[in-house]
Each structure stands twice: as structure tokens, then as C-alpha cells.
Symmetry: C2
Subunit: 162 residues, 2 copies
Amino acid sequence: MDHVDHILKQWRQERPDLDVAPMGTIGRVKRLNHTLMRAMEKTWAKYGLTDAGFDVLATLRREGAPYALSPSDLMASTMVTSGTMTHRIHQLEKSGLIERVKNPDDGRGFLISLSQRGFDLIDEAVAAHVETQAQLVSGLTDEQRQQLDALLKQFLAGVEQE
Amino acid sequence: MDHVDHILKQWRQERPDLDVAPMGTIGRVKRLNHTLMRAMEKTWAKYGLTDAGFDVLATLRREGAPYALSPSDLMASTMVTSGTMTHRIHQLEKSGLIERVKNPDDGRGFLISLSQRGFDLIDEAVAAHVETQAQLVSGLTDEQRQQLDALLKQFLAGVEQE
DNA sequence: GGATTATATCTTGATATCAAGGTATGTAGG
DNA sequence: CCTACATACCTTGATATCAAGATATAATCC
């Protein structure tokens, strides 16, 4: 009987006409996301990073050499709007972790690339981050985690298509 | 090969020293949460509500008569800080959906209670919300959804204890 | 090549959130 | 009763986000 079970119980009492089973599933996803984010933020903070900054640097890093993407590519990868990405880029540029160069192939745009400092920082931070994540999933066995992956993947495929 | 699989593939190429399997699980939770929230916001917006407002009104409604809780109780239920709850309460009060009365049992605090309009609105909005949620989970069978519930519950129990 | 449409990014304005600290009221110990 | 501590809520200041619209460049079509 966790927090979400309690909520469902209350609804079944107050609104027995509603089928609240899906609310339980979605509620757990929301709550889990919230708790996981809070935990991971602590690791990012050790490297002077936020969710937003880590997200951008990691996207550039895992892309491989030459560690550069356009703002549009970054937007698509990170699920934020253009205004948000502009803001993130300015912050990271001010910190000297990325550089902004004119896109030689498209005069309208730029390329965002990791600076050497940005590369070194994210390479170290991501190792710590992976360790934190391993700790966070340690309540599940490997097999359970794989089952969960499969279900989440199917769920996601269902809601992302449109 | 979804978006998350692509990310893991990139990391395995660039950083074969890291075990990124947990990142896949956590990444799917994050992405799923984001997509679900975006979808549910559309329903809330039809009733002039945001995530924040719906959250508070629903918490009061499912509590049962007399539909009143202290700001502290609301904070605990909704996982936000006191500053955020103060702000939410002011917004909802301005909209006439809740009322704030002095707590007769504790001179330091207040009780937040649903107004008649607030009650009517949330009672209608939650029915639409439940329908939206049913649609969102329709990519899973009932059995799969229940399996997912069980795994999420265990995952959550592992990360929430501290 | 000029007009039209599409694309890439930035700007603006409104909200929501948090962390840290402030104020008022309650509670417990001597 | 008075002091010390605890609790409940609010205020402040800094960020992050989004939606909508602005601007500049590219691509396409006669």
C-alpha cells in the first residue's frame, strides 16, 4: 500500500463510477520520474551542472567526434522548445563548456560544439552519473529491469506515435 | 530501435567502459513521463486548468467531505515545496476554485477547501482526465499494465526509501 | 531572377518551480 | 510563566520552461 495505492483507494471511495487503474500506472511513472530526477540532480550538481546542462553536453559527447550539432538537432534529441534551447546554449557558452560557430552548410544556423573543458567535464560527469543510476535501479534484479524496459518501450511506442 | 536505444548505442560506441543499461530504463521513464504530461495537459486545459491546479483540486476532491486540507498536507501529497504550494493556492483562490479559512485547531495555519465551483469543475475534469489516461495506456494489455504496475511499484519503493 | 514558402534560431512575456530565509504561532521543560 | 525550540506558512530571488511571434536565410516555383 504505497502512496499511489492510497490515492486510488480514495478515488474508488469517492468516485466508484471511474476506472482509475490507468491513473495508478501513470501516477507511478510521474512519481518515479520526480524521485529519480531529484536523486540524479545531486550528482550533476557535483560537477556544477543542472539537468539542462548535462543533457546538452551529454548529447554532444555521445554523438562522437567532432562533438558538434545544430541547435535544431539538440532540440529534437532533448525534447525542449527552441526558446529553451537558446537559453541553455547561452548558459553553457557563458560557462565556456561549448562553443558556437557558424554552420558552414547553412547560413541561417550555427553549430554547437563541445569545448575541451566541456569534453573533459562531461566525460567525468557521465561516469559518476552512470554510477548513480546503477544505484537507483538496484532495487530491481537484472531480469526485472529488462522486463520493465520492454514494457516501458511498448508503452512509449504507443503514446509517441501520432 | 527507438530513441532510447539509439542513445544507448551511441554511448556504447563512445564509452564502452560504462554500463549504460540502467540509463535506458531511467531514460524511458523520463521520456514517458514527459510525453504523458504533454498529452494530459491538453485535457486539463479544456477546463482552464494546469497540472498544478488540477493536482491540488483533485487532492482535495478525493479526500472526501469536507474537501479541506492544510497547505502542509497538500505539499506532502503533491511533492512540491512550500513556496510552490503558496503560489498554487493563491492562483486557485484568485480563480475562486478554493477558499482559505483559518485553521480552528492551529492558529499558525489555514485550511484550503474546495468552493462549490471548484468541486463542480474538478468532478467534471477528472472524468475527462480518466478517459484521456485510458486512451494513453491503451497500447498495453490489461495484463501488461498490471505487470508494469508491479515493477514500477517495486522500483519506486527502492528509490523512495531514504 | 523575383516572389513565395519553408526553415533555423532568437526574443519576449508569462508561469512555475526551488532554495533559503523570515515571521508568527504553538509546545515543552524548568 | 518564560525560555527555547519546533512548526506552518509566506516572501524573495534566481532559473527554467513554454508559446507565440520576429528575423534572417534558404529553397522552390514560375
